[in-house]
Symmetry: C2
């Protein structure tokens, strides 16, 4: 029995070593360098070994995405926990999101590209979704803002952050500017959600 558990341990170890090595390659050389032979070679194995730990390349990439969302969630949660005011809590968490994308551009790309199945990615992102949801319901409660559909609010905020992070990946924009855009967008959303109801829209004819 002790040997069999050791085997299992070794198996799990090999699996996580593959993931770790793949992460390094991804961050250093981008998604195009992530070949099965290359990943296996980096831990001094041949390609078929990968298929004893993952059903295929897609499963390995999904594991990378899952690990990525865990890290992202941890960083967002950490920042959210340190904030003093509820508004700062939202803004800082948004900043953390964009900062993560800026610090791990290739990983962030993989976390949002069609390389990995969209629904699998969404499932992996679930903790982040919930964090954003909690964050905004907390914010709304503190400001006594009624929310008919909190999930919708969360999705808007989450999608907006992703939009700004995407802009950051464009060379002529970059992540410093994207961070400012994210800040502005979030401030605008918060202001609107607080203001909503107090102001009707005074519209004007188009020129």
């Amino acid at each position: 029995m002790s040997t069999s558990t050791r085997r299992e341990r070794e198996r799990a170890n090999a699996r996580s070593r593959l993931i770790a090595v793949a992460s390094e390659i991804l961050e250093r050389e981008g998604v195009s360098a992530l070949t099965v032979r290359r990943i296996a070679g980096e831990v001094e194995y041949t390609a078929p070994v990968v298929y004893q730990h993952f059903t295929g390349k897609g499963a390995l990439l999904l594991a990378l995405v899952e690990a990525g969302y865990e890290r992202l969630h941890a960083q967002m949660a950490s920042v959210a926990g340190r904030a003093v005011t509820v508004d700062d809590r939202v803004l800082d968490t948004g900043r953390a999101y964009v900062a993560f994308a800026g610090a791990n551009p290739h990983l962030y790309q993989l976390m949002n590209d069609a390389t990995v199945d969209a629904d699998d990615r969404f499932r992996a992102a679930e903790p982040v979704t919930r964090l954003v949801l909690d964050l905004l319901t907390g914010w709304a409660a503190a400001h006594r803002v009624p929310m008919t559909d909190p999930m919708e609010i969360a999705e808007v905020a989450w999608g907006t952050m992703h939009g700004m992070a995407s802009l950051g990946q464009i060379g002529t924009i970059g992540f410093p500017r994207a961070a400012r855009l994210a800040d502005q967008a979030l401030r605008a959303l918060l202001l609107a959600w607080r203001t909503d109801g107090e102001h009707g829209v005074r519209d004007r004819p188009a020129g």
Copy 2:
């Protein structure tokens, strides 16, 4: 000379036929079906012929992206031209953007994936960027809202639309819901930009 112009015409024709065929394959079967042999075969040629019209597969894909942004721009401009009020003009154009993504999911994916170089994509999107910029400066002028950095505003709006369109591609969200999210996000941004300056942020300590 007449024969040489005919040759040029035929060359240009073959090029655009390749693009057209590639577009059809893309929309029907997705980006993974877009292989050089397949595209060439669809116009009854062999693969190497593609390299006499494009420097490589990347150039062909970029041409698809450029054509896509032209169509997107045309649809947005058309919708913007029909709007009655300045607010509707912005909202309708935003809706058109998300609707385009919903109607051409694979093309939209290609227009935003890392498959094509990010800066090339950004260049191809320039008309759309300018349209959004004009739209929002017009909106601001109509409402007498001062804008210190119109480009920043435009980027926020544009990025937000992209964020919502990205959410639409997730199966459990979908484009009908994404369209509503886009509407809500844009309304919120407009409201905030109009309200800004009139309201300070009354913040509260985090719970």
